[in-house]
Symmetry: C2
Subunit: 327 residues, 2 copies
């Protein structure tokens, strides 16, 4: 049994809890929260809830700690800190700051002899893996990543900051005709506008100027101005009923050429269609927690990403079983 | 520079030669053939052609040997044999015999301190990897593999053995409606007939009984009797013009549930669409040759499959570059 701890009990932490339940070789030992522990109720009967201040006391009872904080301010502090006490896994997803995060976490993990897996999830994570595999196989090619259909938290937050908006949700939608061109091996050069559209559902405050809200959203720099955006005004009830889920997904496609004269075209496509973005991310985190534990058992330490993990470490099956059933 | 040798110069060997040309850190040193070397002309100017009997003389000039023999009779003998002299990579694809092949190759590679990568390609290979990743992430789910549209060599051979058939080519085609059900998360139970159809193009001998040929193909046990099969009679010219390529591909899909009550569905789909089956397989072989070389430099030895190779080994980029550009 691999004994797992969770730091942070939001959507991601709850997702990790659910994922652990599906893995027979893993056990949730404790959840650590910044809230008063008595106010947090979890789903797993045998697990405990503690204050995050007490995390160090559990050093001998937890094999891998999954850190479920946010990438903006939590993880840059938490992951190096806890990597000095535990084998850890995080889902740090600020792509540009990964090298910096890696360096800080690697120093802490190496000094204390722990394994720390960072940037685990689907992008970064499974999408990154598929970019790497496809690039290694087809060095002569073009990469495409499309996201959606799915909820963008950042864009939904941006809508909610517009004056007169009570609630808002934004869906990122890949443009089907662009996808088809890519799949057909046409290697199109696509502008931002040609790749994705944005669909917004907005609950306005009473008496708000709807035309003004719509205009403000559609012209918002960095978020919407470069996209074809649709705005729908709906009621709070409709928002609750139809837009409470957090679906997401997307496509990683590489189109490459082989042959002495580059006469043959190959398309590698990886697609995710997810009902729940945080639960899928959590499921990836849990598989990599298993890998972290196993790699640590072999005496490895330091910061690792999905690129550094041999796939066999992710599965509860033995090498022999895997070769027999999955190869 | 990684110095590569090729044993066997058929479609696969030629594909490996083309793939090496696309990788700046690799160099084709020599091709080894069972034919008289002077009768084999290759594309790479600086590489040599030798008899396969002279392979041992090149021990110090080749870092990785890519063995391009067939799985039925060549590789079971060749891979253990050459693993005792070189780091090797093969594309052994008889799924049922992989454990046996692994054991023989592992013994030879360990005894001599070499790395031997077996069953590299797309199925086994990239498809296997995608089965493993998807199963590790979504333990509660169902796997689907569809092949095609593509040429099945085995089925084409079977057609050509029918009396009155001069030439034949068979395409395996996935049933679109079955794919759609799977993608929709419906987890259908699909019979053989419901997953794939088979389309045959046949050049008949003059005066042959076409109805009899068609009947014999359609009812052929193991090959066609469980499928909806179409037979088209065409001329030799049409065969050459329209059916000389060797396209293939397929889909690996896992549909899984997450959530405390398994309320959310996720679909992971990996798709290949290949103009040339042997050239794509070759491209995978070459990427794993790089990994074999690197793992050997770290002192590793023994038989490995795609499951045992951390993705970073496949890329010519450093860990730092990969984290910066692909994660």
């Amino acid at each position: 049994m691999i004994r797992v701890g969770i730091i942070g009990y939001g959507n991601l932490g709850r997702g990790v809890e659910c994922a652990i339940k599906q893995n027979d070789d893993m056990q949730l030992k404790a959840v650590f929260t910044r809230r008063a522990p008595e106010t947090v109720s979890i789903l797993t009967q045998d697990a405990k809830v503690y204050s995050v201040d007490d995390v160090e006391k559990m050093k001998d009872e937890i094999d891998v700690m999954i850190i479920c904080g946010g990438s903006a301010t939590d993880l840059p502090v938490q992951t190096p800190k806890y990597a000095s006490m535990f084998h850890v896994v995080d889902s740090f997803d600020t792509h540009k700051k990964i090298p910096e995060h890696f360096a800080a976490v690697d120093a802490a993990a190496k000094a204390s002899g722990h394994i720390a897996m960072i940037s685990v999830g689907w992008d970064p994570g499974m999408f990154s893996l598929n970019r790497l595999y496809a690039n290694a196989i087809l060095p002569n090619g073009v990469d495409y990543t499309f996201w959606g259909k799915g909820v963008s938290q950042g864009h939904s937050d941006a809508i909610r900051r517009v004056k007169g908006v009570k609630n808002g949700k934004q869906y990122t939608i890949p443009v089907e005709s662009a996808l088809e061109q890519v799949r057909a091996g046409k290697n199109p050069t696509l502008t931002t506008r040609e790749k994705h559209t944005r669909e917004c559902f907005v609950v306005a405050e009473e008496g708000a100027d709807l035309a003004k809200i719509e205009e403000e959203i559609k012209t918002m720099p960095n978020y919407f101005d470069e996209y074809d955006t649709t705005v729908h005004f709906i009621s709070e009830e409709e928002m609750k009923k139809n837009h409470s889920d957090i679906p997401h997904g997307g496509f990683v496609i590489r189109s490459g050429k082989t042959g002495w004269e580059e006469e043959n075209t190959h398309i590698i496509e990886y697609r995710l269609k997810l009902d729940s973005n945080p639960e899928f991310t959590s499921s990836v985190l849990v598989a990599y927690a298993r890998a972290a534990y196993r790699m640590s058992q072999e005496g490895q330490s330091g910061c690792k990403t999905v690129f550094d993990v041999a796939p066999a470490y992710l599965s509860p099956k033995s090498g022999e079983e895997l070769r027999k059933t999955m190869l």
